[in-house]
Amino acid sequence: MRRFNFRAYRVPGTNFPAAELDYGLLADRLRGDRLLIDAIAIVERNQLNQSASGRRYGELRLKMTNRVEVRPGQFAMLKPHADFEPLLRRAMAYYRCEDLADGLRVEFIYQILGRGTQSLSRLRPGDMVDLLGPLGNTYDTQPARGRRALLVAGGVGSAALYMLAENLRSEGVETRLFIGGASAGDLPGVDRFEELLGAENVICATIDGTRGTEGFVTEPLQDHLRSIEARGPIIYACGPDPMLHRVAQIAEKSETTTQLSLESPMACGFGICVGCAVAIKSDCPEGFVYGKVCTDGPVFRSEDLYWAE
């Protein structure tokens, strides 16, 4: 049986600021076997940073009055509450989660790019955020048991890998992170990863050479794969499309199982718009069909993806 909960919200029909809405849960439902909630979360902290390369990031910490299980790789759809523009929520990977006696604390890392992330960057402690989540599937850590795990992060893609790293550690899987970015300041969460995995297991690559090796993160990854024996490690990657494609190629050569966390423009995040199309291999004549990143993913096995030329 599905659990259904519908909390009172202010009935529209008045001109009053939506900001007067009670905050809390709007709805929670079981999705398959997992709880999905549409809630209003409260900003605890929103720390903005600028890197030497000029890129800007935010670390957003929210508190919710509801507890819900979040799995590594899942994401939420976020938007400052009562903002008219932009309309659509933005997908953000859960970076960290902490169970509290009276709810849940969740963290996100975002790069400030366009209108959506700009609006997130204006949030201040006490502000309300519309949060729909957790959404999407999770990394499969089963194949990593008894092997080693290589995590590959490009820029803000690292956010999607932190909880995975935590899980792998607690499952006793030897875990190494390859993280790349434009400059030393473009490796979000790298210090926390070093804390978790040990500095020796975090390999950095920056375009300007200000931290780790100079160049793309796929170089040290490739070097590492070349240096090790046959039964390869499993790779989990999240980052910009070109990086993921390169990782997939490298992995294919070294016959390594790879799980990629994809991005795509999303209107809804929960499967109803079919906007987040990704080409998936299929034995139909064209060789592929379109799947949905939001519900079929965001994590895909590399060998299932159909890469356009």
Binding site: F4, F6, Y9, V11, P12, G13, L26, A27, R29, R31, L36, D38, K79, F84, E85, P86, L87, L88, R89, R115, G116, D130, L132, S264, P265, M266, A267, C268, F270, G271, I272, C273, V274, G275, C276, A277, V278, A279, E286, V289, Y290, T295, A308
Partner: protein
């Protein structure tokens, strides 16, 4: 919370517990939506557009956000009419809501074919015809852009089913009232309006269209004023009931359409950024009727007050 009879309304012979439906292409096949709202409290569900055969859809990118709206070029990806009645309908039927498959084709025959397949499905209350597709046999112009072709496909489908048929009009025309009249004469039981407005967005860094399909359909609050105007104009041109669509996100939005002449409304894009939007509108409409002392939302349909006669 049960909805009072105050919101009950009949459109095209179908009784709806309230006048709030979810729009085609913005609620999947209804089931995905059921993960976030209680379908038992919804007036009805218009499914994602269904064709006789499954369709792959367009390459990504398929969506772009614009100011106050979004462009989409999904390319009518769907599982096909057969899979719908076999895989989706049995589960969807369990909800206490009206089920209206949205149907399309690229020739009149394809419409008929899709409807014939759907006729096998139990628990379908009526069809919505998406006539905004190019008519490939007649030069590739959209059925919706030509009164004659719009009427032709309407009549053909009416002859193929005894279920009520609602025809969905496009705003991309010079004279929507003329199309509406033609479709009414051809036997449509109701009209829904409007579909998306054709738009385009270009990435000025790459100089490429943002949508792989180049152009797409504009939806969301940006088009609401255009949609309200269309409903107002068509309400003066035909006698069959109208269902208003276009940028509806709040109770006020829904009321604007109803007062302009719509017997019911469909919530589209708003469900993407506020999954509870349709539910809030159901509650909000009831509260409005209560506050205004209305016995039935019917009394509000087309109740716009004009100083002059048009």
């Amino acid at each position: 919370m049960t909805d009072g009879a105050v919101l009950h309304i009949e459109v095209a012979g179908i009784g709806f517990q309230n006048p709030v439906l979810t729009a085609s292409g913005t609620c999947g096949y209804g089931l995905d939506m059921a993960e976030l709202i209680d379908l038992n409290r919804l007036g009805g569900v218009c499914t994602k557009g269904l064709s006789a055969r499954p369709m792959r859809g367009n390459a990504p990118w398929r969506i772009v956000e614009t100011h106050g709206g979004m462009l989409n070029a999904i390319g009518l990806q769907n599982i096909g009419a057969r899979a719908f009645i076999e895989d989706k309908l049995p589960r969807l039927r369990r909800y206490n809501t009206r089920i209206i498959p949205n149907v399309f084709g690229y020739t009149v025959d394809e419409y008929i074919e899709a409807v014939r397949i759907l006729e096998d499905g139990d628990g379908i209350h009526g069809y919505e015809l998406n006539i905004s597709c190019p008519n490939v046999k007649a030069g590739g112009e959209s059925f919706a852009n030509d009164a004659h072709q719009a009427a032709e496909v309407t009549e053909a489908v009416k002859n193929a089913t005894r279920r009520p048929v609602m025809v969905k009009l496009s705003p991309n025309v010079t004279d929507i009232a003329a199309i509406a009249r033609a479709v009414e004469s051809a036997g449509a039981d109701a009209l829904s309006l409007v579909n998306t407005a054709v738009g385009m967005s270009i990435d000025v860094e790459t100089r490429r269209p943002r949508l792989a399909n180049i152009t797409g359909g504009l939806s969301g609050p940006a088009i609401k004023p255009i949609a309200v105007r269309c409903v107002f104009q068509v309400a003066r041109a035909v006698k069959i009931p109208l269902v208003g669509i276009g940028g509806i996100a709040t109770t006020e939005d829904a009321l604007e359409f109803i007062i302009a002449g719509a017997s019911a409304v469909q919530v589209g894009t708003a469900s993407f950024y506020d999954p509870q939007a349709a539910m809030k509108i159901v509650d909000g409409l009831e509260a409005y009727c209560l506050r205004k002392g209305l016995d039935s939302i019917r009394d509000l349909v087309g109740a716009v007050r004009l100083d002059q006669d048009l």
